[in-house]
């Protein structure tokens, strides 16, 4: 019994911590914000530390419903780090936006993290669904957290309606898979697919339908084209720290979920889902790049950038090998750092009276008013574009290398040529920052913490980041190996 507890330690710590902090929040009200914020980061840290034990190597629990393996541990580290940053940056933002911050914000993120943890540890379609819903429910509330703000409320509603639709589609797929394989366990589904392929040469039609619907549901969560419509609106409307959660932790968790489902449950159906992933990947890259060009709001632009980047990560999944899956999670890990950095910079965009500004035009001439911030922003943009020597290049490198490894060099050539379109709008931001005449300057930075986090992200993405390659390769390699 104790084994179970240790394997589930991160989730248990988050749940108990979350409930206790919820009580604290209820008792102390808004006076307790700072305490709850710090304690929730501490809870996340504790959950992260617990990954050192059997939580990362223990194996299956509850008859395969929950898997504690290296893959789950790798993803959880990324999720917890991103969530912690999103909690830390929130109080100042909400104070500026609405006067106060409710202490429920960090608690909701903790619950969302429990859901994300279950998603990446799922060994069964139902665990997967419960995790996904727990994560989503918290996210719907978070999106509309500034409830008096019209845009935030609209973002929450849109996200909820479309998210519910996607959940429905996915649940339908789950029921189809259950109907045509007789189980909801990933291993059982894989075995049924393999059996069907062995006897008839391909999965049965019902299985393929199930596969398509399940993928559609997950692709919605990672906002891949053609399930991306909600992304720009929600990213723009949600409070910036919440958008940061969506773009980093949540995206990483959903991508990890997709990887796990594709590799473990649908692995034998590789030929079937590969076509879907290739199409979705290329469509995401193109749409993410082209649609971003015309944006004037930085958060919308970053939303399209996330669509674009998800497309590249999916190319690694299309390779279908352990190397490809390792490339996907490495890409997402690097992507989290780039996105956290970009959104931290967005948080710095405030006019002289401290109100948040989101237009790209307001960045004009930032290099003269705030050279440090401008340099960091340029690092993030070039890195998102995948230009060496910045570390964002490494993610793309791994993905394309994995594609070459399975002989898909045409796809790799098309994908990398399309990355040039994406480079254009990142360049546009750098141009605004460095080449244009200065716009009215932003308010000076009032937080050492945010400055420090931006600097840390910029250093990680600088060429110094390349020194992390061996460690990243080791961790992501072990994580991917756990799926096979």
């Amino acid at each position: 019994m104790a084994d179970y507890l240790l394997r589930l330690a991160p989730e248990l710590i988050l749940i108990i911590g979350g409930v206790l902090l919820l009580l604290a929040a209820a008792w102390r009200g808004e006076r307790g914000v700072d305490m709850v914020t710090l304690l929730s980061v501490a809870v996340l840290a504790l959950a992260g530390v617990s990954l050192l034990g059997p939580a990362s190597t223990g194996g299956d629990s509850f008859g395969g419903l929950h898997q504690a393996d290296a893959f789950a541990a790798f993803c959880k580290v990324g999720i917890y780090v991103a969530a912690a940053v999103c909690i830390l940056i929130a109080p100042r933002f909400f104070r500026r936006a609405g006067g106060t911050m409710q202490p429920e914000y960090p608690v909701l993120i903790l619950f969302s993290c429990v859901g994300m943890g279950m998603m990446v540890s799922a060994g069964d379609l139902l665990t997967l669904y419960v995790g996904l819903e727990l994560q989503s429910l918290a996210a719907y509330v978070l999106a509309s957290f500034l409830r008096r703000d019209l845009r935030s409320a609209e973002a929450g509603l849109k996200y909820f309606v479309l998210g519910a639709l996607a959940s429905g589609i996915m649940l339908y797929g789950v029921s189809l898979l259950y109907g045509f394989t007789g189980t909801t366990l990933f291993d059982g589904i894989a075995a049924a697919f393999a059996e069907s392929i062995e006897t008839t040469g391909q999965p049965s039609l019902g299985q393929v339908f199930g596969l398509v619907f399940v993928l559609a549901g997950v692709l919605f969560k990672i906002s891949a084209v053609p399930f991306h419509m909600w992304t720009p609106d929600v990213y723009e409307g949600a409070p910036t720290p919440v958008t940061t959660v969506f773009a980093t932790a949540q995206k990483f968790a959903a991508m990890a979920l997709l990887v796990r489902v594709s590799a473990e449950a649908l692995g034998p159906g590789l030929e079937q889902w590969r076509q879907i992933i290739v199409f979705v990947a290329l469509a995401s890259i193109i749409l993410g790049a082209v649609a971003a060009i015309g944006q004037s709001n930085i958060k919308r632009l970053l939303a399209y950038s996330s669509i674009n980047n998800v497309g590249f990560a999916l190319l690694g999944l299309a390779a279908g090998t352990a190397e490809g899956l390792a490339a996907v999670i490495s890409y997402m890990a690097i992507y989290i750092v780039m996105t956290l950095g970009s959104f931290l910079c967005v948080l710095q965009m405030r006019d002289s009276e401290g109100r948040p500004v989101e237009t790209i035009a307001s960045l004009a001439g930032l290099s003269r008013t705030r050279p440090g911030l401008a340099a960091a922003m340029a690092v993030f943009m070039f890195s998102l574009a995948g230009i060496p020597p910045l570390f964002g290049f490494w993610g793309k490198f791994l993905v394309f290398d994995a594609l070459i490894g399975v002989g898909y060099w045409e796809l790799a050539a098309i994908g990398i040529a399309l990355s040039v379109i994406g480079a254009y709008y990142y360049l546009k931001i750098v141009k605004t920052i460095y080449f244009d005449e200065p716009a009215p300057g932003y308010a000076p930075s009032d937080s050492r913490l945010e400055g420090g986090l931006i600097a840390a992200a910029a250093v990680l993405l600088s060429p110094l980041g390349y020194l992390l390659i061996p460690a990243l390769a080791l961790a992501s390699g072990q994580a991917a190996a756990a799926l096979f």
């Binding site: 050279p371 230009i387 990398i416 040039v420 254009y424």
Partner: protein
């Protein structure tokens, strides 16, 4: 380690890098001094490098080798041969001159400017010294970022258009090369460039790989018809930016062909030689004619660069010692001469703030010293014997004559056209009557400007009169390269053979005949 006992190449990379960081945190005056100091230290290190480089061909082919497997998938592997040495020398020689040229001309955001230039130097040296495929790619691509910022921040009126064009054009070319590199690293199981140079790739794969590398290097060289970024980038870049673009960055393309395309894909190079020859022939004639009608001095020199680089290309694909050595010398010579011409334009631009040729005239009477130096560089760009241009162009064309006499004929017209546009430019700017009042007020070269141009003039003459100093370090490496690609050497079209008068001579021959032809 190496002959010197310390990792000199890493130090040459570290000095400008540290100086770049220091510049960012300094005031304008200090930033200038730091940048000049760092580039001069690198020049000194470069001279040490050249002096200790064993050019007798006795030692290893790759010298000053460093190897640290820092990055897991690829390594911090540096090392140079004679070809890389000469191009590194060109870079470190031009760098202090660029800093000097920007001393007064750049007044806005000096610390950032100096820092970016020092970064460019780091990346150029890194590209030439890299011995790991992916390390090379990172250095090669990274150069885009500082050049984008230099053109975009300190450029002229159309700087933003030019900076985008420069960045996206070259990026599109290079990304395909990355895919080819990934494939090669997998096929050969190594990322070491010397090892890959010895790898025989399957002939059918070579064609694709060659095209991918061609996409990248052809844009960098630049070859017609992907040269259009160059005039825009040159015209809008600040003077020193143009010097570095023409002087060194264009050489990255030529270097890429020497280092990758030829030794790694000899068969594909031979199959696709017609692409190189055809594009180069068009480039020589077309861009020379375009240069002839330019009203903007920098544009004229930019187009002339395209024509000169086309001669480099035909020399490289001559598959023989003369052609390759000639191509290298044209690269060095063009780096110096076009750099110097851009500086000459910069000198009068600083005084009159226009690059329009028609606004000048009669400078010979008001700026005699300037007129003399400008004349020397004009003659060098034409390729007058005694200047560097002659040695390189003559060798290149002689090399390619053994492969294709028609291409040689067309490319040689480039020299005549080159004389036409260069002399025409010189006549309009320097000769004639000095009747414009503001031209009459122009001052002759200052001491600083002479200090910038005189060293280049000296090296141009040195290269023209005694090219052996420059050819000697490369000789063994070029010989190794010709030996490597000998199996794919194209059959020359000039099969000279003794025969009885009137006898019908069969013109088809194998490589053996080509060897015979070389003797003539």
């Amino acid at each position: 380690m190496n002959q010197l006992g310390f990792p000199i190449l890493s130090v040459m990379l570290l000095v400008p890098l540290v100086a770049a960081v220091a510049c960012v945190y300094s005031a304008a005056a200090n930033a200038r001094r730091i940048a000049l100091g760092a580039t001069l230290i690198d020049l000194l290190l470069g001279i040490v490098l050249w002096a200790t480089f064993d050019q007798a061909g006795q030692a290893e082919r790759w010298q000053f080798v460093e190897y640290q497997p820092l990055f897991g998938r690829f390594a911090w592997a540096l090392g140079i041969d004679g070809i890389a040495l000469m191009l590194i020398m060109l870079s470190v020689f031009l760098m202090p001159i660029c800093i000097g040229a920007s001393w007064r001309a750049i007044e806005r955001r000096v610390p950032e400017y100096m820092a970016l230039f020092l970064l460019v130097e780091v990346l150029m040296i890194g590209t030439f010294a890299a011995q790991d495929l992916f390390l090379f790619y990172i250095f090669f691509e990274a150069g885009l970022i500082p050049m984008y910022l230099i053109i975009g921040i300190w450029g002229g009126t159309r700087r933003i258009y030019a900076s985008y064009k420069f960045f996206l054009y070259t990026l599109l070319g290079s990304v395909l090369m990355l895919i080819a590199m990934l494939w090669m690293a997998r096929y050969a199981g190594t990322t070491s460039i010397p090892a890959l140079m010895e790898t025989d790739f399957p002939v059918e794969a070579q064609t694709w790989l060659w095209i991918a590398f061609f996409a990248s290097f052809a844009v960098k060289v630049p070859m017609w018809p992907v040269h259009t970024w160059l005039p825009d980038a040159h015209v809008e870049a600040p003077t020193a930016g143009s010097v570095i673009l023409a002087g060194v960055l264009l050489k990255l393309g030529g270097y890429g062909f020497i280092r990758f395309s030829l030794p790694m894909f000899p068969e594909a190079s031979q199959q696709l030689i017609w692409v190189i020859l055809a594009l180069s022939m068009v480039a020589v004639v077309y861009t020379s004619l375009v240069a002839l009608v330019q009203a903007d001095m920098k544009k004229l020199i930019a187009y002339s660069s395209v024509a000169h680089m086309a001669i480099v290309m035909v020399g490289l694909f001559a598959f023989n010692q003369q052609g390759l050595e000639g191509a290298m010398i044209v690269m060095l010579s063009h780096g110096l001469v076009s750099g110097a011409l851009f500086l000459c334009v910069g000198v009068i631009y600083d005084r009159l703030h226009t690059r329009e040729i028609a606004r000048y005239g009669g400078l010979a009477s008001v700026m005699p010293r300037y007129a003399i130096l400008f004349l020397l560089f004009t003659m060098a760009t034409i390729g007058l014997p005694g200047t560097s241009g002659f040695v390189g162009e003559f060798l290149s064309l002689m090399g390619v004559y053994q492969v294709n006499s028609f291409a040689t004929l067309i490319c040689t017209t480039g020299i005549i056209l080159g004389a036409a546009y260069s002399l025409y430019l010189y006549r309009r700017v320097v000769f004639g009557v000095a009747d414009k009042p503001d031209v009459l007020k122009m001052e002759d070269l200052s001491r600083r400007e002479i200090a910038l141009l005189a060293p280049i003039a000296a090296v141009v003459l040195w290269l023209g009169i005694y090219p052996e100093s420059f050819i000697a370090p490369m000789r063994a490496d070029v010989a190794a390269l010709t030996q490597r690609i000998d199996r794919a050497r194209p059959v020359g079209d000039a099969q000279v053979a003794a025969a009885a008068p009137g006898a019908v001579q069969e013109q088809v021959g194998g490589p053996q005949d080509a060897h015979g032809a070389e003797a003539h």
